[in-house]
Amino acid sequence: MKSFKIKILTVVGGLLLLFSASCKKWVSDTSEPLQVDESLVFSTEKGFQDVLTGVYLQMGDSTLYGRDLSMGVLSLLGRSYDQNIETSIGPLFYESARYNLQGADLKKYAAEVWIKMYQSIANLNNLLVNIEAKKSIFTGNNYNRYKGETLALRAYLHFDLLRLFTMAPAAGTSSGPGIPYIKTISPGKAAISTIDEVMGMCIEDLKTAESLLSPTDVTNYRINNWAVKGMLARLYLYKGDHENAKLCANSVIESNKFLLAKTNADLFFTNENLFNLFLYQSQSFQKSVFADQAKLGLTAVNQTELYVKVNGAVADWRKSFVDPTTGNGTGAPFMPKKFYPFASKPSMPMVRLTEMYYIAAECALKDVDAVKATALLDTVRVHRNLPKYPIAGLTLENLGIEIKNEYQKEFIAEGQMFFYYKRKNMPFATLPFTKVPVDGNASYLFVKPE
């Protein structure tokens, strides 16, 4: 009887042991159908693409490049509009028009940008963590492509965070505190690097990306080898390293991979751009800036001021403005026609070929090579239905102004002008189209939330 009892207990005990050994596995195995566990996402090549796409989509958010880092807040700061600058456009836009970066709404906006950009960066970092372990599942050149794109986007986002939240090198020292450059995924607070260090790390990421991305792939709705080169040119120029900026800009121009447009069919000149961000909600974003309540735009007087006076011409393709509601070019045209009809071009240029020409021209200016600079500008002018400059070499002073003017015309309502003014550290008094007085403590510095 006793042995029987012991037997029973042994069997039960043994079963329990087995039970607890296998239970850990059973318990861990719960998948969720609507949200997908990361192990499942990263089990296929497509999953990596989806995560990367997720970041592109996040970048197209209205807070980021979908609206406010392009035609919204940054274009108000970049002085693309002078029409309807009143309190009725809402506190965020109105504070932007007044350069009141300390204002409550702009502060709140800055925090949102910070969070969303870093969230995208965390997503990129999580992809990088997983891509090494899954190297074997990739076909063709995809491992290099995904990794290259990820690194390039990481640098792109960090560089814009740097440009938004820290002083431009031109405005002082670049050894001051910058932003955290996040390369891992963890809940711990990362240290803040100096501005120089951040630029260094951006360059490092971009260079790695450049080596990974194939130069034959010119798909421009994703970041590609040529966009990376363009980014490097932009970054070197911002840093004040004209030599490298020139090299990078010229390598893009001379590659002839992207050609300047020959017609005005598309005023965004989508095909000539190195990198366009596709925007799923472009229509509503554009409406919220150019129609509805805000109705921002450039008045007829200043359209002429910008596009026709000095070395401009009425025939400039870019001097196409329409009434946002009717699309007519007559009456009260305030909105750059490139947006009309809304969402006809559902993308936003992120790196343009023309910027390479302007960077190269600015570098030529630094080299005191007026003829080269003028020729570079002329190349673009011809493709914008403008005559060449009357002389082969403008004066250096005029060239500087012409480059600024071309930036203004080319990048209207794309947000780049803010970065131009910041890079040049232009005094607020010299900014064009100032309709409302600039705030007392105006600055080019967005307020960091942490």
């Binding site: 207990l9 039970f19 861990s28 997908v36 566990d37 932003i179 809940p187």
Partner: protein
């Protein structure tokens, strides 16, 4: 083909062989015991009445029979030297060794004075003898609970157990479709929602296991017949089926449940079918619910007009507007003078009738027993057309083969709760009495006032357009939720040898919840809507399925050797719950008889797409429990549990829990001398760590969310929204308990005392992280709370006279606990800050919670007030530095009082004289505070422009310098319709109350009555219960703002056939 046939043939032959062998064996056994005798006799109770259905068994051969309706029995084949065992539920079993030659054995069974629970403690996993138990637990029989409240078993439990606290919902009042919210020994969690966590889902339905516990993280674990269940199931089940409810409180009692045990456990056992002849039991309960509107004291038509006038609603600085407003004043005054003074409160309420029919059949002989229960329960609420109907069916089958007992229970239930089409009760309390409800023809008016154009006035009516909520009752509105539940539970119990048992159980339960709400375009909620015509009217539908699968295996061994008694239980269980639901909302149903989802115009702007929800959890739990008792003096027990759950972080999938206790039976010691004061004394102490996993199932996994509305050039993107904490742990609570049970004055007074402390130190809270990490916050085990207190319960059988048949038992219980926050995460500071800004004064109309280490979670924070300045009528506040000010500032808030009461308790009395039963219960609470929100909202925070106010607005508010009043002056001016009083200590009031929760009168008809015999009834019984009979409270508040509270009468009748 032929092969198959051969095999078939073979099996057939072997079955035949087996059968014939069995037959042979049977024959043999009959012949072997041929010399055995047949015993006959009668089984009676102490009063001499026959006991039908009593079980008579030969202890050795296990031959069994049961008594007939007249108490007689016949047991064949009994060995002449056998011992017979006579037993019946509620009676002490009697063992009778047969004397030689004895053939007739008459037995009188004595009613067992001890309840079931005192013999053994059932924790839902295993039963153990009470001698081997050291924990704090309390068992109540179903009859006891039914006596207190025949309609709501949870309310009954809260009334008689001091540790069970029911959270009263002042908004939903006595809504029959409102599930009770309870907690045992205080709350261990912070009422903080995990903000920023995208995976926190709202409960799909209350039948869903996971969401039920999520919606009340303090909810104790509910076990029904050994399987985890939901509050909804307990709330909707037939009260007549409940055999007992056991409340397990401390570590020793609960730790076998491991990571689910921290909130305590409530174990519900249903009645098992009784063997014997077929027995039918029928009970019916009628009940009446009366709305209790006594807490309302609203202004009449002329009164509110006067209050409005004083607040400056009918005057304006602009002369043109002033004229218009005066026109409206005169118009309304005219109506009031003509006698329009509508009592809106009575419009939506009714006397609710309810019936509960419960019928059960049970029977079976020998090895096979069965039970069938049918139940129909319909209860109407006090709001018109609100009701809850339940249909339940359950079928029990149990079968005993040798020492294996197999039993299976199938349950099928359908519940439908209709919400009232009359809308919220608040809308009626707010309505102005100078509006007419019906026009001359008796039709309900939809828009209560003509507009200014019709009346040719010069401006819009102050307050805008007023709609009549009772108009909606004339429309074809649908608003209900229903639930279909199906379940099958199987248990197999194998008694290997005396004291050694092996049990296995498997349960499968499924709920199919459904809810629909349809409001046609004509509904008053669309009157002020800015939607375009084609989007008026809305239809919402929710459908879901949730399933729980439970499995358990368990072995227990009990051995008594001399002075040593050993109990061992070992077991394991698994559970998988899954739930899914789809929610669809559509708009644009212009006509009210197009009440179909498919007839809507589209999704509208607000819904845009269907939503669905899905979740899956898996958990495992193994336990080993050892208990040793020496000489009925010393007991020691120890339980170890290992729990695993998919909810835990990947680094912490398995969690260990343990607990133990010791008990000392002082009165069994040699040194204890018999005396007249103390007859029994048992000291218990227990200690253990238990867990809580009532949190969102996906906080610990890193998940990508696909975006379907956005695409990137037609490809989808996935985004990581949370930082999953791989180290996330279950919340654990250290439970300590010290208990003393005393029997005094020869059973005249029984006392139970428990001292407890529950320390939780790793509450899951959001932690703010630097946003540059990419995430705003993530969940970590960061918080801590401590609850400590005591419970005392005294019961005293004052009169126990079985000769004259008088019994009177009085019970008293009370409990006290304090709650302290011991640890918080920095993210809570952000919540505190948001709750304490002076910026948005509107949200500060009530004292928002603030969580501070060292304070209780229920602390009321408000600005200290010196009262109303008699000179100005303004309130004088005290600033933090002690200075006085007229300006309210959120930063001056201080802890004013704790909403948690010092004492909560109850008293009960049960008196029986012959066949009469008189029972009453009351509960009381003292030492707690409450912010009298309804008072401040009706008297000071009143929006006179659009709603009615309390009478005290006119009578008790400060009017002129020198007035000493408790309410500040009415502000008059252009925006004065809306008066504003922020959280102030002036409205923090003592919340002491005494509630007579139940009074029951019952009568058991003697079975020798003529009509009883004629109707072949066996124990007919009638019971009248009145619930919430009266309430005496120090605080006067409007009770039941969205749904009134009710007083109820029940009239119950039950009988056996």
């Amino acid at each position: 083909m032929s092969n198959d046939y051969k095999i078939l043939n073979k099996t057939y032959r072997s079955i035949c062989r087996g059968l014939s062998a069995l037959l042979l064996l049977n024959l043999l056994s009959t012949s072997l015991f041929a010399q055995n005798v047949t015993i006959t006799g009668t089984v009676k109770d102490e009063k001499g009445g026959p006991i039908p259905g009593a079980v008579v068994q030969d202890v050795n051969s296990k031959i069994v029979t049961s008594t007939k309706a007249n108490g007689t029995y016949e047991l064949k084949n009994v060995s002449p030297k056998a011992t017979l065992r006579f037993s019946y539920v509620g009676f002490k079993p009697v063992y009778m060794p047969l004397k030689s030659g004895e053939k007739i054995v008459d037995v009188i069974l004595k009613a067992s004075t001890t309840t079931l629970a005192e013999v053994s403690i059932n924790n839902g996993l295993y039963k153990r003898p009470v001698g081997n138990f050291t924990g704090a637990a309390k068992a109540y029989s179903g009859e006891e609970l039914k006596m207190v409240n025949p309609r709501n078993v949870i309310q009954a439990l809260a009334a008689i157990d001091p540790s069970v606290r029911l959270t009263e919902n002042n908004i939903l009042g006595s809504d029959p479709n409102q599930l009770p919210v309870i907690q045992i020994r205080g709350q261990n969690n912070l009422p903080v929602s995990a903000s920023g966590n995208p995976t926190t889902g709202t409960p799909v339905s209350n039948g869903d296991m996971m969401s039920s516990y999520l919606s009340n993280p303090n909810e104790p674990l509910l076990i029904l017949d050994g399987f985890q269940t939901t509050m909804q199931t307990i709330y909707d089940m037939d009260i007549n089926l409940i055999a007992s409810i056991t409340v397990l409180k401390d570590a020793a009692a609960t730790v076998a449940y491991g990571s689910k045990a921290a909130n305590g456990v409530i174990v519900v056992e249903t009645k098992q079918p009784l063997p014997g002849k077929i027995r039918a039991t029928y009970s019916v309960n009628f009940n009446i619910e009366l709305p209790d509107l006594s807490s309302y004291d609203l202004l009449d038509a002329e009164g509110i007009l006067e209050a409005q006038r004083l607040a400056g609603i009918y005057s304006d600085e602009n002369r043109f507007n002033d004229i218009a407003k005066k026109q409206w004043y005169n118009y309304r005054l005219n109506n009031a003078k003509r006698g329009v003074n509508t009592y809106w409160l009575s419009q939506p309420v009714q006397i609710g009738f309810g019936t509960n029919h419960s019928f059960s059949l049970s029977g079976g002989a020998g090895a096979l027993r069965y039970g069938l229960n049918l139940n129909y329960n319909n209860s109407e609420g006090v709001m018109k057309e609100s009701s809850r109907s339940r249909y339940n069916l359950s079928y029990n089958l149990s079968y005993v083969v040798k020492n294996v007992k197999f039993d299976n229970r199938i349950t099928l239930g359908y519940t439908k709760g209709n919400n009232t089409p009359w809308g919220s009760f608040r809308d009626y309390a707010d309505q102005f009495p100078f509006f007419r409800n019906k026009d001359e023809a008796g039709n309900i008016i939809k828009i209560l006032e003509p507009n200014n154009k019709e009346l040719e006035f010069d401006g819009n009516a102050p307050g805008g357009t007023f709609t009549n909520p009772s108009y909606n009752s004339t429309l074809n509105i649908k608003d209900y939720s229903a639930n279909l539940s199906i379940g099958n539970n199987t248990n197999v119990e194998w008694t290997i040898m005396d004291g050694l048992q092996l049990r296995g159980s498997l349960g499968w339960n499924r709920n199919v919840p459904e809810s629909e709400s349809f409001y046609p375009a004509d509904h008053t909620s669309f009157v002020k809507s800015i939607s375009i015509f084609s989007e008026l009217g809305s239809y919402g539908q929710l459908r879901g399925i949730n399933t729980a699968i439970d499995g358990k295996i368990n072995g227990s061994y009990h051995k008594k050797m001399g002075n040593h008694s050993l109990f061992v239980a070992v077991g394991g269980s698994f559970q998988q719950t899954s739930s899914q639901s789809t929610r669809v909302g559509v708009t644009g149903i212009p006509i009210d008889y197009l009440s179909e989802l498919g007839l809507a115009n589209g999704f509208g702007l607000s819904n845009t797409r269907p939503l669905s929800n899905k979740s899956l959890t898996k958990s495992l739990s193994n336990y080993l429990s050892l208990s040793y008792n020496y000489d009925d003096r010393y007991t020691a027990e120890f339980t170890f549990n290992q729990s695993g759950s998919s909810q835990f972080g990947s680094n912490n999938k398995l969690a260990p829990f343990y607990g133990g206790g010791v008990a000392w039976n002082i009165t069994n010691e040699d040194f204890f001398k018999e005396n007249d004061i103390v007859q029994s004394a048992k000291l218990r102490a227990s200690f253990g760590i238990t867990g809580n996993q009532n949190f969102s199932p996906y906080m610990s996994t890193q998940v990508y969310e696909y975006s379907f509305i956005n695409d990137y050039r037609l490809s989808l993107g996935a985004l990581l929204n949370n930082y999953a904490n791989p180290d996330l742990k279950w919340q654990q609570t250290l439970k300590q308990n010290l208990g003393l049970t005393l029997g005094l004055f020869k059973g005249k007074i029984n006392v139970g005392m428990d001292l407890f402390r529950e320390t939780t130190d790793n509450l899951i809270l959001p932690l703010d992280v630097a946003p540059s990490t990419g995430f705003v916050n993530y969940q970590d085990n960061l918080g801590g709370t401590r609850n400590q207190g005591y419970e005392v319960s005294i019961s005293s059988p004052l009169i126990k006279n079985s000769k004259r048949n008088i019994f009177w038992t009085v019970g008293f219980n009370t409990g006290h606990y304090t709650n302290v926050i011991t640890r918080l995460s920095p993210a809570i500071e952000a919540i505190n800050k948001a709750n304490n800004s002076s910026f948005d004064r509107e949200t500060q109309k009530s004292p928002l919670p603030r969580f501070v280490v060292g304070q209780s979670t229920t602390q009321i924070w408000a600005v200290p007030s010196f009262g109303i300045d008699p000179a100005t009528g303004k309130e004088v506040f005290e600033k933090l530095d002690g200075s006085r000010t007229f300006i309210w500032d959120a930063n001056d808030k201080r802890p004013i009082g704790d909403a948690n009461s010092k004492f909560k308790g109850g008293m009960s009395s049960n008196f029986t004289y012959k066949n009469f039963v008189l029972n009453f219960n009351l509960v009381f609470q003292t030492g707690g505070y409450m912010y009298n929100q309804t008072l401040v909202d009706r008297v000071e925070n009143v929006d006179l422009l659009s709603g009615n106010a309390d009478r005290r607005v006119l009578t008790d508010r400060w009017k002129q310098p020198g007035d000493h009043s408790s309410f500040k002056s009415l502000v008059s001016g252009p925006n004065a319709g809306l008066q504003l009083t922020n959280a102030t200590s002036r409205f923090v009031q003592k919340n002491d109350f005494l509630d007579i929760t139940s009074m029951t009168v019952g009568y058991n008809f003697p079975s020798n009555l003529k009509w009883v015999k004629a109707a072949r009834l066996s124990t007919p019984r009638i019971m009248i219960t009145q619930n919430n009979f009266a309430r005496f409270a120090t605080i006067k508040t409007e009770r039941g703002t969205g749904y009134p509270f009710a007083r109820s009468f029940s009239f119950g009748l039950s009988t056996n056939f």
